[in-house]
């Protein structure tokens, strides 16, 4: 019995009851983390750590956006991984926005949540802060060249993005379709 009491007293969640500062931090943190975990959504700093846990099956065809800079393929050989991510991710977002008429899934969710809830003035103000308009899409093209220029330390004259489709067999990829979708 004494051993059991000693064990319970040594448990972390019991020990923190003696320290209010820690208690006020840990308990709400655990509550929100569990809540978001159960809901399956993440809000900083409460993350879900799946780490490639979503089940995926082999596809027949694979889509890829090839980027040509000054008519040369942009490959990750030029960059460290983080830098390359900061180049590829905005580009993917840019292509996606073009495909979806500039409507991101955040905008769809915003309309669903706040349309009719906020006044028209506030609704449009907040929408403009989370959405990208045609002007910003144009500004992206200038920014992309600038950032690439800084990262690669060379003059960027042209950028071309092609949508490609591949069929993969073992470690061989065969291109079956190629289409230029953006040039700037």
């Amino acid at each position: 019995m004494e051993k059991l009491v000693g064990y319970i007293k040594s448990c972390y969640l019991v020990r923190i009851f003696n320290d209010k500062k820690v208690l006020f931090f840990v308990v709400p943190f655990l509550f929100f983390q569990s809540f978001f975990q159960l809901k399956g959504i993440q809000n900083f700093p409460f993350f879900l750590y799946g780490m490639y846990s979503e089940k995926v099956e082999l596809k027949k065809r694979y889509n890829h956006y090839q980027v040509y800079v000054n008519d040369q393929i942009l490959s990750n050989d030029f960059f460290y991984a983080y830098n390359y991510q900061t180049i590829r991710a905005p580009l993917a977002h840019y292509v996606q926005l073009g495909n979806d008429d500039f409507i991101s899934r955040a905008v769809v969710a915003y309309n669903k949540r706040f349309n009719g809830v906020l006044s028209a003035e506030n609704f449009n103000l907040f929408l403009s802060r989370i959405a990208n308009d045609a002007q910003e899409i144009k500004a992206f093209e200038v920014w992309f060249k600038n950032y690439l220029q800084l990262s690669m330390n060379m003059e960027i004259k042209s950028v071309k993005i092609t949508a490609e489709e591949y069929v993969i067999n073992g470690a061989n990829a065969q291109r079956v379709k190629e289409e230029i979708i953006h040039e700037f």
């Binding site: 040594s10 972390y12 020990r15 923190i16 320290d19 500062k21 820690v22 931090f25 840990v26 975990q37 959504i41 809000n43 900083f44 700093p45 993350f47 750590y49 780490m51 490639y52 846990s53 979503e54 995926v56 082999l58 596809k59 694979y62 890829h64 090839q66 490959s75 990750n76 960059f79 460290y80 991984a81 983080y82 830098n83 991510q85 900061t86 991710a89 905005p90 993917a92 977002h93 840019y94 926005l97 991101s104 899934r105 955040a106 989370i130 959405a131 990208n132 910003e136 500004a139 920014w143 600038n146 950032y147 800084l150 990262s151 993969i168 073992g170 470690a171 061989n172 990829a173 291109r175």
Partner: protein, 271 residues
């Protein structure tokens, strides 16, 4: 239980943590990842995260990224408070300021890099140093549990979603991740081997999931922390070999495991 607050070791841990974060900031600088180096990005990416929405509604990331002086101020302050946290390791005020600035940096960077990275290692590594007295060691211990949670939950997701039994999982992830290298015939021999040998790929995947599930042990005992410490490094090296990517911030969190590994060393330093 070792009381980290009473021992000289807080100094060692603070120095180690802030030195590692300093190296990470140098890496950010070399990679052009400071906000001032993003040179006024155009596209915003809130995704479905309410915290990002709140910051963007208040136009905080837009103001910082859109202004040269503000972005320099944020980047400069990050470095200054990092140095102050390193030098004045006893005072929680400097890590608190650093943490607040880092959150601002993190949300601004992710909003404009168009990808919400899960690189929370710095955030959780600095957190204990924002507390003094016995609260420091209790929060330190909490972060240790959080580290176990990160990997154990990743393992559990793979188990409960049945991903661990999907023989094509790693091959498909590799195909998607390295499609660019595949299309340009730039695949390295190891990845070439993995893609051509699905059985070996799947075995490697199962091994990685088992390593993740091993972190469940961390909730019941601290005696095996040295193995968890090694497991985390093994996972990060494997991730680098297989995915060509290292989440340095999560690797930094490994520092949290050091006190329970060097228990004897710490006990000998108790005042």
């Amino acid at each position: 239980m070792i009381d980290l607050s009473k021992i000289v070791l807080r100094k060692l841990l603070a120095r180690l943590a802030f030195l590692a974060i300093g190296l990470l900031l140098i890496y950010y600088y070399v990679n052009h990842l400071f906000i001032s180096q993003l040179s006024n990005p155009a596209l915003v990416y809130p995704d479905l995260d309410n915290t990002y929405w709140l910051f963007l509604f208040l136009a905080i990331p837009q103001q910082i990224a859109g202004s040269i002086s503000l972005s320099f101020l944020l980047d400069g302050s990050l470095v200054v408070f990092l140095v102050l946290s390193f030098v004045f390791w006893k005072k929680p005020i400097f890590p608190i300021c650093f943490l607040l600035l880092y959150v601002l940096y993190f949300i601004t960077y992710n909003s404009f890099s168009c990808h919400h990275f899960h690189h929370t290692g710095v955030f959780f590594l600095v957190l204990p140093f924002c507390f003094s007295g016995s609260a420091f060691s209790l929060i330190f211990e909490f972060i240790r549990y959080y580290l176990c949670f990160i990997y154990a939950s990743a393992g559990c997701y793979k188990l409960f979603r049945g991903t661990i039994f999907n023989t094509n999982q790693l091959v498909e992830v590799l195909r998607t991740t390295h499609l660019e290298a595949l299309s340009n015939n730039e695949l390295n021999p190891f990845l070439d081997f993995l893609l051509s040998n699905p059985f070996f790929s799947h075995s490697l995947f199962v091994f990685a999931v088992l390593l993740e599930l091993f972190f469940l042990v961390g909730f019941f005992t601290k005696k095996l922390d040295y193995l968890l410490f090694i497991a985390l490094i093994v996972m990060k090296v494997s991730l680098f070999l297989v995915m060509d990517f290292v989440a340095w911030e999560l690797l930094l969190l490994d520092i949290i495991m050091i006190p329970s590994i060097n228990k004897r060393l710490y006990e000998s330093q108790v005042d």
